[in-house]
Amino acid sequence: MNQNESTWNKIAKILKGEVGLLLILVILCVLFAFSSEYFLTAKNILNVTRQISVVLTIAIGMLCVILVGEIDLSVGSTAALAGIACAWVMTTTGSQSMGMLAAVIIGIAVGSFNGVLTVYGRIPSFIVTLASMGIIRGIGLVWTQGKPFSGLPESFSFIGAKHILGVPVSSIVAVILLIIGYFVLHKTKHGVYLKAIGANSEAATLSTIPNNRYKVLSFVVVGMMCAIGGVMTTSKLLTASPTACTGMEMDVLSAVILGGASLSGGIGTITGTALGALIIGIINNGMNMLSISPFFQQIVKGMIILAAVLLKRKNSKA
């Protein structure tokens, strides 16, 4: 019992820093719950977690890149390419694990490419990843000749579409990654280093932090997270589409920024990012349920992000 209490205390302490986001979350839930009786059912909430699992997974990696003061716009393209590689290798070799391995290799390769060009090529990451966003999407389209790669074995749908005790497997994967991310970023020196580099890179170098290595590594991490996200997407549909995850970078970045991370680096938390992704997921889900036009949804999402950031700025000034 005592043990339990202290765990709860810890969780309460972590959430205390995110009062604003929690408030937004609660308001949204209440709003949607009054509008649709189906909204606050266990089934729907689990459904929301499944819907956000890919964004959440990639957002963990994106947070690392944002913390060091960089950005990755190529995440959607990378996820799609990783999905294609996974599907192609799987059908060619007949091995699902080989397929997933191929996806991860693609993720690492893209991450290294972005990271090395940014750090050693001294090109701003915005430009590097803007270019690689196009290049990687193009490679996927050329590889598949623009057609979706379908006909994957039913047994592959485990990660993307199956449930364990009623909980979607992809949600479980995302939560596990979230927990790992939490420990690495908030409980080890690696998280301290990433934040230090973003906060003051000169002081970080003079504090003997290997800036360049950590920057490249953070791009590799986001690449790997894209690979996992790509595998999830492919598994869910049993199809690898070259146009999958188009525009994903917007949702991922929105989640990270909504979660309180600073685009200039040094500031951001895993809990904030997770709440950010959840809020975006709930807005999407709730508005779908109220059959609000998807065109209109875009406007609402944009406004909520602006409002949240403005609110945060006001608070920190006071």
């Binding site: 301290v192 934040k195 906060a199 003051n200 002081a203 003079l206 003997t208």
Partner: protein, 499 residues
């Protein structure tokens, strides 16, 4: 007597409890170049900031052209025709010379307010011609040399009708030829009745271009000299004050039994201008001094593996080593307390504890690689207590501490790693007297523990009090080496100025 352009009477300025200016009188004659001289901390920059409206004086009167005025903001100063040319340039590189000169005051035509480029370039050309400046107004500022940029900056100030120009170390980074051009233009300005205040560490320049010089010391005006009636030695003496303390009571520490810890043999990095050689023994405190631009910080950074060596070698305990990264330097137990604590030393938003432990974070990792926050707190509190950090609240963001206490945190960061060689670049810059004394005690304590300490500083007093030996750098070269018995303020100053 010439007409007075500006007159200051009994200017006093306090910062907290510290009196930076203790009643200074100062006057400028129309069309003269007037040098403002003094050691660091003499009150030069405070006086300038009062004239330009950055600070407001606590007491005293300011007259501009015989009219008493109040200068509260930089805008007030500009209204009175006072403009400052600082060391950092404020030009926009991607615009042309003329566009920079008229930035914010572009001549316009028509009801739409379209920029009248013809007039813009014609007026700029006229200005440049008037002062005999050979720069094409259509040139991009990014294509100009350092000296030309500074000249454009001056023209920019004149374009808004400035009558009093303040030049702060204007020749920094200029070549000899560029300095000549600058002086030619300054002479031209003089003929056009522009009055200038000139601040420079180079006395040769002061003798070349200035008509009069006012010397400040400890917040007081010592005297105003007419340049043609004064010698360099007289000026230096007046800057240092106190009849030259020929013999300090200090004697050299006996270091004969101590091993050499660090040695540089004709070592040079791409950022240093000339190779440098020296050795430091265990328990020795070596001072390195020189004026701005002499290469102190470059040396400090390269000793910490933060610059690529071009030639020569570094030996630690007699063994040749290569320091290709700051991590290498740490491995050889070298520590650097950098010059600019806010830019290079601290993570201002982060906590005191995190700042103290970041360079030796391995010490607070447990077996699994997780950080042990209790241990972090314990170590930081212990370190904070021994350095008398006040207030000692290790969870507090370091930005909430005073300058002196922030500096102690930077020092703590490095003591945490238990170094053998400690390099300190301007360790007491901008901190109060109490904190200074504590830093000095700390340095002496390190020496007692057999550590080698290299103190880079432009404050002669502190070097003379602390060091077992002082190297003087000028333009990247060692021009002198003094032992405590032979060091005087005067010798240090004349060596660094190349007098």
């Amino acid at each position: 007597m010439a007409k007075l352009e500006m007159k200051l009477e009994n200017i006093k300025k306090n910062f907290g409890g510290i009196q930076a200016l203790k009643g200074v009188d100062f006057d400028l004659q129309r069309g003269e170049v007037h040098a403002l001289l003094g050691e660091n901390g003499a009150g030069k920059s405070t006086l300038i900031k009062i004239i330009t409206g950055v600070h407001e004086a606590n007491e005293g009167k300011i007259f501009v052209r015989d009219e008493e005025v109040e200068i509260r903001t930089p805008k007030d100063a500009r209204k009175r025709g006072i403009a400052a040319i600082y060391q950092e340039l404020s030009l926009i590189e991607s615009l042309t010379v003329a566009e920079n000169i008229y930035l914010g005051n572009e001549p316009t035509k028509g009801v739409m307010g379209v920029c009248d480029r013809k007039t813009l370039y014609a007026n700029s050309q006229a200005y440049l011609d008037k002062f005999g400046i050979d720069i094409n107004p259509r040139t991009m500022v990014s294509d100009l040399g350092m000296g030309q940029k500074r000249i454009v900056e001056i023209v920019k100030a004149l374009a808004v009708d400035s009558q009093i120009l303040l030049l702060d170390e204007p020749t920094t980074g200029m070549s000899k030829v560029e300095v000549e051009t600058l002086f030619k233009i300054m002479n031209n300005l003089k003929e056009n009745k522009v009055t200038m205040i000139y601040i420079s560490h180079y006395l040769e320049e002061v003798f070349k271009i200035c008509d009069r010089a006012t010397v400040l010391r400890d917040g007081k005006k010592i005297d105003t000299f007419v340049m043609k009636d004064v010698t360099q030695a007289q000026l230096i003496k007046s800057m240092i004050g106190r009849e030259i303390r020929s013999q300090r009571s200090r004697k050299s520490k006996d270091l004969s039994g101590k091993a050499v810890m660090l040695e540089l043999r004709s070592y040079k990095t791409d950022r240093m201008q000339a190779p440098i050689s020296f050795a430091v023994k265990k328990s020795e405190i070596l001072g390195v001094t020189g004026i701005v631009g002499a290469g102190k910080s470059e040396l400090a950074h390269s000793l910490f593996g933060h610059a690529k060596p071009e030639s020569g070698e570094i030996l630690i305990r007699g063994k040749k080593v290569i320091l290709s990264s700051t991590r290498d330097a740490k491995r050889y137990r070298i520590a650097l307390v950098p010059e600019d604590r806010k830019k290079e030393g601290l993570f201002l938003e982060d906590s005191v504890a995190n700042n103290m432990t970041i360079a030796s974070i391995d010490q607070i990792e447990n077996g699994l690689g997780f950080l042990d926050h209790k241990k972090k707190k314990k170590l930081s509190v212990k370190m904070g207590e021994s350095l008398k950090v006040n207030p000692l609240r290790v969870e507090m963001p370091v930005k909430n501490l005073s300058g002196g206490n922030q500096q102690k945190v930077v020092v703590a960061k490095w003591l945490m790693s238990d170094p053998e060689i400690v390099v300190m670049d301007e360790p007491t810059r901008g901190i109060d007297v109490g904190a200074k004394t504590e830093i000095y005690d700390l340095i002496k304590g390190l020496s007692r523990k057999d550590k080698s300490v290299i103190v880079m500083s432009s404050e002669f007093e502190e070097l003379m009090d602390l060091c077992d030996r002082i190297l003087v750098l000028r333009k990247g070269e060692v021009v002198g080496e003094l032992l405590p018995e032979e060091v005087t303020n005067e010798r240090l100053l004349s060596l660094s100025l190349g007098g």
